[in-house]
Amino acid sequence: MLTRDRQPRSDRALPTFITLVVLGILLMTFHVRLEGGGVVNVLRTGTQAIISPVQRGVSYVVTPIADAVEGLGEIAGLREENRFLKAALEESQAQLIAVEDQLARLHLFEALYGLDELETDLGRTVANVIGRPDPFDVGLIIDRGSIHGIAVDQPVIDSNGFVVGSVSSVTPFSSTVVPITGNREGLAVLVGSQVGDLASQAAFSEMRLDIPDAKEPVLAGARVLTSARSVLFPAGLPVGEVVSDADLATSAVSTTVRPYVEIDTLRIVIVLAWPADPISASGEDEIQTEITTTTDGDS
């Protein structure tokens, strides 16, 4: 065996190792104590601002390569997927006709009762997903930043209107989005007429739903929407569906929810400018009444 003439194993390696471990723990402590703000936020934003132009440039070059490699891996299932999509298309077309009929009736009733549409349109910024920080980080890097009007904590949805997550950090030209499946903070949701908390579970794509003051059982397939009690998302956005039935044994009900969004396949996301007026929204003390009329994501 040939051994290379490297630098001798010095006695300073272990002290250096211990010093750097201590430094790392200090950094972690700073991060926790500052709750990700202050100096930590400045460092993070600064580093991302430096790297993001390079990432954006490289992303334009590597996207076709990544798509080609992904495509090669999916060739085997294309025929089956094509058959499934044809069936889904026929079903969707039938549903579309039914919805159009309901919509026409809705417009008729609105005209009869003289109802005006509420000002509910939110500013939307469409962004491309350009990558991820590393294989273990569930965060997504998108190619839109503060100069495009994006701010920290703004909600993010996919092109179908399904909830993806929220913006965790912003640089002028890029942002990082943390999906709901990777967010420690629970999300207030609505299932039927019941309000519950949705929390992520380590190593699982499915999320845990807890309804503390349940009045009725929750059935599999029930749609889960964002609640007006949520401070992170506007009410009525589709989140996912209940996986298994949950009986009403006590006053609390627990079950699992499968999010509609598959984070790994996301290429385009939409950042919502919500709340429209963050200053007044942060001062609200009263919980708004549940409004569940926004169902565009289910189309």
Binding site: T47, I130, I263
Partner: protein
């Protein structure tokens, strides 16, 4: 250490960080941790062990800063992997396959440590749905990459065309 070595290390790390967060962030079938791999392979060069640790720490810190998890977590993990790599690097000198296996083993230690520390510190952004499969696929992908790039990387950093010619 020659004057061009720091520049080479800096460029290699920059390329690793950018490729990791763009190309390998998009491909689901191949999931290496390129920055961790570079931090491990730097241990095979003639750079002083203290500097190897500092480079690995800095590389981890940059990934921490680009991500959404706790600052310093990957810095400690990458540096720990580099430290074990420094202590065991003679085992990688046998041949190309040995280098690849060794790099895969070091990566496995690194990713297990990352998940353990992430669990201890409640880092839900690290404990995503694919965390268990990634514990296997990341070391395998790094092993494959190490087989291909280890000699080139060491020769570039050391500016020694004879390096790792087993």
């Amino acid at each position: 250490m020659r004057v061009r070595t720091p520049a080479a290390v800096f460029l290699i790390l920059l390329v690793a960080v950018v490729l990791q967060s763009t190309l390998f962030g998009r491909i689901r079938v191949i999931t290496p941790d390129l920055v961790l791999l570079v931090a491990i392979l730097i241990a095979l060069t003639r750079i002083k062990p203290e500097l190897v640790l500092a480079i690995a720490f800095s590389a981890g810190l940059v990934v921490d800063l680009l991500g959404s998890s706790l600052l310093g977590l990957r810095a400690i993990v990458f540096m720990s992997a580099a430290y074990i790599a420094l202590r065991t690097r003679e085992r990688a000198d046998i041949g190309r396959f040995a280098t690849a296996l060794w790099a895969g083993g070091m990566t496995l230690i690194g990713v297990v440590l990352l998940v353990l520390l992430g669990t201890l510190f409640g880092q839900s952004t690290i404990l995503g749905e694919h965390v268990l499969s990634r514990l296997v696929t990341v070391p395998l992908a790094n092993m494959l990459l190490a087989f291909m790039i280890a000699p080139v990387l060491v020769r570039t950093v050391d500016q020694d065309p004879a390096a790792l010619r087993y």
